[in-house]
């Protein structure tokens, strides 16, 4: 009896120390769940989810403060991926935050109108607009996420939304019609 008690207690002690040691030694920096959620978000940094960027939204989801259906650019694909990751029910996109566009968009500066005020440059979350004060600005199409955050600050309304040229030019092989249900016609 006593031997058993001593054995168990000492085992518990050894494992406790081991666990404590590993917890310190192999401490995980940051929250992996936030990283995983962030990896699924489209990184437009548009703020339509009401958070100032994708990572803050990921943090809010991880803390249970935000729902998974607040990301219009991600649309259904992102919602399904998040529901898979977090083990929660997928639900339709919350319309309050915006609607999902199938064709990705970018912005373009109308260079004959631009006055070079740099306000859009300051608004761009991914540094995709270049130009100096009183110089014409231009958008790096490759880097533009289509968040449209540069549009409200523009004092002369010279920024337009266009379908992303590289995406729009490619032909999209359609999904076939699907089976005819009901009686076999042949």
């Amino acid at each position: 009896m006593l031997v058993a008690v001593i054995a168990l207690v000492s085992l518990a002690g050894i494992f406790g120390l081991l666990l404590g040691f590993t917890a310190l030694k192999f401490k995980v920096e940051g929250d992996p769940v936030i990283d995983q959620i962030d990896a699924l978000l489209p990184q437009t940094q548009c703020g339509q989810c009401t958070y100032p960027g994708c990572r803050p939204y990921a943090t809010a989801i991880a803390n249970g403060e935000a729902d998974i259906n607040q990301c219009p650019p991600g649309g259904e694909v992102t919602i399904v991926a998040l529901s898979d990751l977090l083990g929660v029910e997928a639900k339709p996109l919350n319309d309050d935050h915006g609607t999902h566009e199938d064709i990705p968009t970018v912005v373009i500066v109308q260079e004959d109108i631009c006055i070079g005020c740099t306000l859009c440059i300051q608004a761009c979350p991914v540094d995709a607009i270049i130009g100096g004060a009183k110089q014409i600005h231009t958008v790096i199409e490759k880097e533009c996420t289509g968040c449209n955050l540069c549009i409200p600050p523009c004092p002369v309304d010279c920024i337009d939304i266009i379908p992303r040229p590289t995406a729009a030019a490619i032909w999209h092989p359609p999904l076939p019609g699907g089976p005819v249900t009901g009686a076999n016609p042949s």
């Binding site: 990572r55 979350p125 032909w171």
Partner: protein, 511 residues
């Protein structure tokens, strides 16, 4: 060397199909006259160097490209460039493409051919540049630039010449071998020298006895070149399938034949490569099979690239009321022709007029597994189909979606008439799209984080600067205060001294 005792390793699945090949092999190859207008599609990533109104000669390059993937295109007869504008072409999307339209002058004058180039181990780069310059691409149907295929720096043991031509109706390679076997062998020799291949295997399906005879006769004089007869099973002409048949080795998923020390090139491509190196000629014509329902003179026609398909059909005396649909290519992998004004291009091996076939609507999949039995890539077509319908493209990719060669065997056997390959094309596009969007979003994340860091750093720097300035100001004020104090002390001293002097004076006068 022309024996055919090579061991054949069969591949999984495949179909035994009616060849319908004898229809178009009864007459020798005929030349189609140069049409009045040629329409030559401009490839992607190319810049048009020709200008409207310019007079061009046959073999003159019309585009340049900084991308080594893109071979040049050439005027296929002499004439005047009339327009560079959107024109109908044969593609699955039905989108128009930029085409260079040339009004031919009937003289058919050519540019001076380039100097002959004898390939050896020393001038590989020169040969590759020549292949690109002359616009040589895979003429079997895929159109992959030959220069890139043979540019591999892996050591190549075997060059395989793909003379299988497994798809029904198509006979252009068959006729090329029957009539110009020595050119094919020369082409094989040329390419073998470029890649320094030790052996050359020429795979021909056993339904082409005439071509086999001609090739064996031609190969008997050649240094390298062994004719291997393969059984007639569709798709034995698929690159991976032919490599397995001849070498017993399987090209790994996501790998290239060069990984196995093999390079596989189509017959007509080999001939065109010979012309490019030894004759200095650009690719401006090819042999095209015209056959099918309503074609009164089926056969093979040497056609200038850019010739409208309608001219080809007219020359073969096609009754337009008989056929229901035209295809560019064979019945399984061919692309439907929507507009007969579309030009023939480098990959046009066949124009097939298809008779009306009973149309069956797509029915639900019953999981019979017939598609699994015929799939030459050893995939699970029905599984890929379900993943595609469920928009689970990443799972489809895990199940080998990108190993699908789109041969159409599964479509052919499906009892529910499901257009399976159309589903896979859609899935491949979506899977690639997801990947490229992920790359884009990863880049956006990094840029966002870097911007945040920069803003933070700037704010810190500003704060530090402000703190430093405040400190300086404070120090200066303190110093000023200290100085002021110091001057006051001095004044008081002076006053005290003056007072003392006055006092002393007073005392003196009092004395």
């Amino acid at each position: 060397m022309s024996s055919s005792n090579q061991k054949i390793t069969p591949f999984h699945g495949g179909l035994h199909l009616d060849g319908h090949k004898q229809v178009s092999t009864q007459t020798p190859i005929a030349s189609i006259p140069v049409p009045q207008y040629l329409h030559i599609p401009v490839p992607h990533n190319s810049e048009v160097t020709a200008t409207v109104g310019e007079h061009v000669l046959r073999g003159q390059a019309l585009t340049t490209s900084s991308n080594s993937m893109t071979p040049a295109i050439h005027a296929s007869s002499s004439g005047t460039v009339r327009a560079i504008e959107m024109h109908a072409v044969v593609n699955r999307s039905g989108q128009l493409l930029d085409c260079i339209s040339i009004e031919t002058d009937g003289n058919d004058k050519s540019i001076e051919p380039l100097a002959a180039l004898k390939p050896s181990a020393d001038n590989k780069q020169e040969c590759l540049d020549r292949l690109r310059e002359c616009g040589i691409v895979g003429l079997g149907g895929a159109g992959f630039p030959t220069a890139i295929k043979v540019a591999t720096d892996k050591s190549i043991d075997t060059l395989i010449i793909n003379a299988v031509e497994c798809e029904p109706y198509i006979t252009c390679d068959d006729m090329l071998m029957q009539e110009q076997a020595s050119r094919v062998i020369n082409g094989a020799e040329t390419l073998a020298s470029i890649v320094s291949a030790k052996e050359v295997l020429i795979g021909i399906e056993d339904n082409k006895p005439e071509a086999i005879k001609a090739m064996q006769a031609a190969a008997s004089n050649a240094e390298r070149g062994k004719i291997v007869i393969v059984p007639t099973i569709y798709p034995s002409g698929g690159e991976k399938q032919l490599i397995q048949l001849l070498t017993g080795k399987e090209v790994p998923s996501g790998g290239l034949p060069a990984d196995l020390g093999v390079v596989c090139v189509n017959t007509a491509t080999a001939t065109a490569s010979y012309d490019a190196l030894h004759q200095g000629l650009a690719l401006t014509e090819r042999i095209i099979t015209v056959t099918g329902a309503g074609v009164k003179k089926p056969g093979n026609y040497l056609t200038r690239l850019g010739t409208p398909i309608s001219k080809l059909l007219d020359f073969a005396e096609t009754d337009h009321k008989v056929y229901q649909q035209l295809r560019m290519g064979g019945p399984l992998m061919g692309i439907p022709v929507k507009d007969t004004s579309s030009p023939v291009v480098k990959i046009t091996n066949c124009i097939l007029a298809e008779a009306a076939q009973p149309q069956h609507a797509e029915q639900p999949c019953i999981r019979c597994g017939d598609c699994v039995r015929v799939c030459p890539a050893k995939l699970l077509p029905q599984q890929l189909y379900w993943f595609t319908r469920a928009t689970e493209f990443e799972k489809a990719e895990d199940h080998g979606l990108f190993d699908c060669i789109e041969c159409g065997c599964c479509d052919y056997v499906c009892p529910s008439n499901i257009p399976l390959v159309d589903y896979y094309r859609h899935a491949k596009f979506e899977a690639n799209n997801i990947k490229s969007e992920r790359i884009r979003s990863d880049r956006a994340r990094i840029r966002f984080e870097q911007r945040e860091q920069r803003l933070e750093r700037k704010a810190e720097e500003k704060a530090a600067l402000r703190a430093a300035k405040l400190k300086k100001l404070k120090e200066r004020e303190e110093a000023k205060a200290a100085q002021q104090e110091g001057t006051q002390d001095n004044k008081q001293d002076e006053i005290a001294a003056a007072l003392a002097r006055v006092k002393a004076k007073k005392e003196k006068t009092n004395d």
